[in-house]
């Protein structure tokens, strides 16, 4: 039996008719139509489906959508303002941390959550914060570099130069 549920995604309210067993990722992708969140395994192993719930990185493929009412859900679409990218997104582009792009939305959100909590993480802190987000293309080196750079951008230590 479907039931009507209110979800707040990227600051916008959505009334969605869903079954109690529906996972958040499927509701976000199929019911709401925000396809930036990716499904790489469907059982919480790869991190591609990461969204932020009240600012905390959460695996949307093993989170029931009904459990998210009254919480602030941020998907990758909620990070940039129009064409203006979030510093983490800019850093990923600048440092060559993007290859196929499938892990990227989850990776960017996990990075943002880390930097919100810890603006100057060490390399080890970055590695541990991203250990739940798998990437097979990059070997992670440029992603780690991008997160360090994003930290500097966010704290104003360096200013992003438009190419």
């Amino acid at each position: 039996m479907k039931k009507l549920v209110k979800l707040e995604i990227n600051g916008e309210n959505f009334d969605v008719a869903i079954t109690p067993t529906a996972y958040l990722i499927d509701v976000i992708r199929e019911t709401v139509g925000l396809c930036g969140t990716k499904k790489g395994c469907g059982i919480g192993d790869c991190g591609a489906c990461t969204v932020l719930i009240d600012g905390k990185p959460t695996l949307s493929c093993i989170t029931l959508a009904v459990a998210c009412t009254g919480k602030a859900i941020t998907t990758i679409e909620g990070l940039s303002k129009g064409t203006e990218l979030h510093p983490v997104q800019r850093a990923f582009i600048d440092k060559g941390a993007v290859q196929c792009g499938f892990c990227t939305p989850g990776m960017v959100l996990s990075s943002k959550a880390l930097l919100d909590e810890n603006p100057h993480p060490t390399q080890d802190e970055i590695k541990s914060a991203l250990a739940g987000n798998l990437c097979r293309c990059t070997g992670y080196a440029k992603i780690i570099e991008a997160v360090e750079y994003a930290g500097q951008l966010l704290s104003g230590e360096v200013v992003h130069e438009q190419a």
């Binding site: 990716k38 059982i43 993007v98």
Partner: protein
């Protein structure tokens, strides 16, 4: 770059798809929806080897919401990436050959209904013996997995190649060392599962959106299996979320989506689960290799004797090609005069092995680089010295007739050794710490096409006009490695225009001219050459127009900085777009094509066509490890790499290829392995149980490019995506030997194996003392 003063080439270029990807807007196949679209799901066998007696789909068909049910007998046409040896069906026909093989498929209004319907399909099997190892499949009296297989028993293919006289060479050698090496059963683990959506239009033409490396092979296979003219089929490559060879063959879901869409009369999406990806597989062949290498007193290699048994899994796939690639990749990057190669690929009842990054090279490099390391140590020479002495020079022809027109491999060895401090560290680190050196190389495209046609391997068309700018149409496929960016950079450099102004249209069989696809590290050289030629042909049309405007000869004109100008008198210049306008006003549309076919070579032995490449990339790595003697864990601490990829077109992308290769190789060396039960089922087909490296596992990576430029390549470039994975595994194994004095010959080096080996070593030493 000292030799060439480029504006675009060799400078880090931010990819055009970057902003879309960081915003989650890059469109992957599963992001595509159509009105009335159905979801297809696949019923897989729960038996490893059997004859299909009957399939009853009536209950599934009766389920509300089910729009089509499909079985193998509805498309009993064999296909395969090697067109001369087709072995596969869209859905199992008459027999199943591995546990989890697609047997039937359902299209329904939603995925849940489709999955429910799968449970209602009843299949009766007559069980056959299940062979999960080559030994079992080769045993006397074993049932043939493929009854029409031309080779005896379950040998899918076998070959021997003999060059020089290995026995004689060994007789006269100072030292000969032989060992048995075993490689593991590993999967690509690209992050995006396979997905295809098929849709027929009112005129019966098929449109398919799929995440594939090989749109033209898919085009060809669809035509064959659906018995439709190719000109009624349109293949559109979506975003590809990684592939590494795993999307380099037509996948069952692609054919099934098209067959279901035709039957249901509605668009059908077939998305794989992660488990489906493991069952589709096409990962690296496990090979048991018996390899011997001889050297003379100076450490010069006298001969190589190789005997390899490849565990191919249930179908043909790329296997035949990989077998011959392995033969071709035994010799290099060293100068070897006597080589004997005996190998066979065996059918077993497991998911099929195929093309995985560095195919044909990774396994023999593991054996050879390990043996050379041990030989050097045994004869009291530095492995670096031995490898450097035997390394090929600037150009080389192997005993098998492969021509390497350009190599800086020696420079790679020198730089990796120098940057890592290898000579000071090797043999001198405390117990538990070690450093290992290995070299490797890879082809930059293959000279032989399986397509059985003599048409160019790559073609490109460029359209230039004042409304749309420059558009490069090319059948090459960007699978995440950034080839669209590289091809766009080449066109930008040719025209002297900013990269941002170039549009690249790729991976679409309706829009772009023919290209074989993305595999064998061929795109930069092959598609790049085609794009460069097309651009030159555009310039040939534009220069005479500019020349008349400027009153100079066309030959003295250069296109740069958005202008045509005389190289002798730079003030004689005219805006590029003004010239385009004049050309089109006078002559009409401005387009030009370019194409590329690598030089063909052959010989008078079986497989002589395969393995040749226009040019080769090289890599050397010094890898430092720490072995925890308490827990048995091996940790890679630092990898120092030096690579010869010719002129890097987009250096940041090349670094990404190198870093990704190193971490992927590290996974195979240390922990990745698919486990198979006695009944043939995969025991760990999930990313929970099949571990790949995470960010927390990565070592320090120091990668450098050696100064290199292949003058016959487009802008001097060579491959970078598969060469760097070649040395990774043996460098780790050699480092482990340096750390604890144990020569492992079987992947992966798990803590369990380390502890066992240390225990045995202790016992041995106890006996000796």
């Amino acid at each position: 770059m000292s030799r060439h003063d480029f504006d675009v080439i060799g400078k880090d270029q931010k990819r055009k798809d970057g902003p879309k990807k960081v915003k989650g807007e890059h469109e992957f196949a599963d992001d595509i929806q159509f009105p009335m679209m159905l979801h297809g799901r696949i019923k897989r066998s729960d038996i490893g080897h059997a004859r299909i007696i009957s399939i009853d789909t009536s209950k599934a068909e009766a389920l509300a919401g089910v729009k089509a049910v499909l079985v193998g007998s509805e498309a009993p046409i064999k296909y395969g990436i090697v067109p001369q040896m087709p072995t596969e069906y869209a859905l199992a026909y008459q027999k199943v050959r591995f546990y989890g093989e697609p047997v039937a498929a359902v299209a329904a209004v939603d995925a849940e209904t489709a999955e429910k319907a799968l449970d209602l399909i009843e299949i009766e099997y007559e069980a056959l013996p299940v062979y999960t190892t080559p030994e079992q499949a080769l045993a006397d009296g074993a049932v043939k997995i493929h009854e029409d297989n031309k080779f005896p028993g379950n040998i899918a293919y076998e070959s021997d190649q003999n060059f020089g006289d290995v026995d004689e060479a060994f007789k006269n050698s100072h030292y000969v060392l032989g060992k048995v090496f075993k490689t593991s059963y590993v999967n690509h683990v690209f992050m995006e599962p396979h997905c295809a959506i098929s849709k027929f239009d009112t005129n019966g033409e098929l449109f398919i959106w799929s995440t594939t490396q090989i749109p033209h092979y898919l085009h060809n296979h669809l035509s064959k299996v659906l018995q439709m003219d190719m000109n009624k089929i349109h293949v559109k490559v979506t975003g590809v979320g990684g592939a590494f060879g795993g999307k380099g063959e037509v996948s069952n879901n692609e054919l099934i989506s098209a067959l279901l869409a035709r039957k249901a009369g509605r668009p059908v999406k077939v998305l794989y689960s992660r488990k489906d990806v493991f069952l589709q597989h096409r990962g690296r062949h496990p090979i048991e290799m018996r390899v011997k290498v001889g050297v003379d007193k100076e450490g010069m290699i006298t001969g190589i004797d190789y005997d390899g048994t490849m565990d191919g899994g249930s179908y043909g796939g790329w296997g035949l090609v990989i077998l011959f690639y392995t033969a071709a990749m035994l010799h290099l990057p060293y100068n070897v005069k006597n080589v004997r190669f005996n190998a066979r690929r065996i059918y077993t009842n497991k998911p099929t092995c195929g093309a995985m990054r560095g195919l044909g090279g990774v396994q023999p490099r593991f054996a050879l680089e390990s043996l050379l390391d041990q030989i050097a140590i045994d004869i009291g020479m530095s492995p670096y010295e031995l490898k450097k002495k035997n390394a090929i020079g600037f150009s080389h022809e192997t005993v098998s007739g492969q021509v390497v027109r350009h190599s800086e491999f020696r420079k790679c060895l020198d730089q990796a050794v120098e940057n890592s401090g290898y000579l000071e560290k090797h043999g001198n680190l405390p117990f538990g710490k070690g450093i290992g050196l290995a070299g490797g190389y890879y082809i930059s495209g293959t000279a032989y096409t399986l397509y059985m046609a003599y048409k160019p391997h790559s073609s490109a068309m460029i359209r230039v006009d004042n409304e749309s700018g420059v558009t490069v149409y090319c059948g090459a496929t960007d699978i995440g490695q950034g080839s669209d960016t590289v091809l766009g950079m080449m066109a930008a450099e040719k025209f002297g225009l900013p990269f941002e102004t170039i549009h690249v249209v790729s991976g679409d069989t309706s829009l772009a001219p023919f290209d074989l696809g993305t595999f064998a590290s061929r795109v930069t050289v092959a598609a790049g050459s085609a794009v460069c030629k097309a651009a030159d042909n555009v310039l040939k049309k534009l220069k005479p127009v500019a020349a008349i405007q400027l009153g100079v000869s066309p030959e003295q004109l250069e296109a740069r900085h958005g202008k045509f100008y005389s190289v002798f008198e730079k003030s004689r210049e005219i805006d590029f777009w003004k010239v385009v306008e004049k050309y089109i006003d006078a002559h009409g549309p401005l387009t030009a094509t370019g194409d590329y076919t690598p030089p063909r070579r052959t010989g008078d032995f079986k497989g002589a066509n395969i393995g040749h490449s226009p040019t080769y990339g090289f890599s050397a790595q010094c890898t430092e490890v720490e072995v925890d003697v308490e827990t048995g864990e091996v940790r890679v601490i630092r990898v120092t790499e030096a690579g010869d990829c010719g002129q890097p077109i987009n250096p940041v992308s090349v670094e990404g290829q190198v870093e990704g290769s190193i971490i992927m190789g590290m996974g195979q060396a240390l922990y990745e392995e698919l486990k198979v039960g006695k009944d043939g089922r995969l025991l760990n087909p999930s990313l929970h149980d099949y571990k790949i490296p995470t960010a927390a596992d990565i070592p320090e990576l120091k990668t450098t490019f050696v100064d290199s430029y292949d003058p016959e390549s487009p802008f001097g470039a060579k491959e970078a995506g598969e060469g760097p994975i070649q040395p990774v595994i043996p460098a780790i194994f050699n480092a482990v030997y340096d750390a604890i004095g144990v020569r492992f010959t079987e992947m992966p080096i798990t803590p369990e194996k380390v502890l066992k080996a240390l225990d045995e070593k202790k016992k041995q030493e106890g006996i000796r003392s």
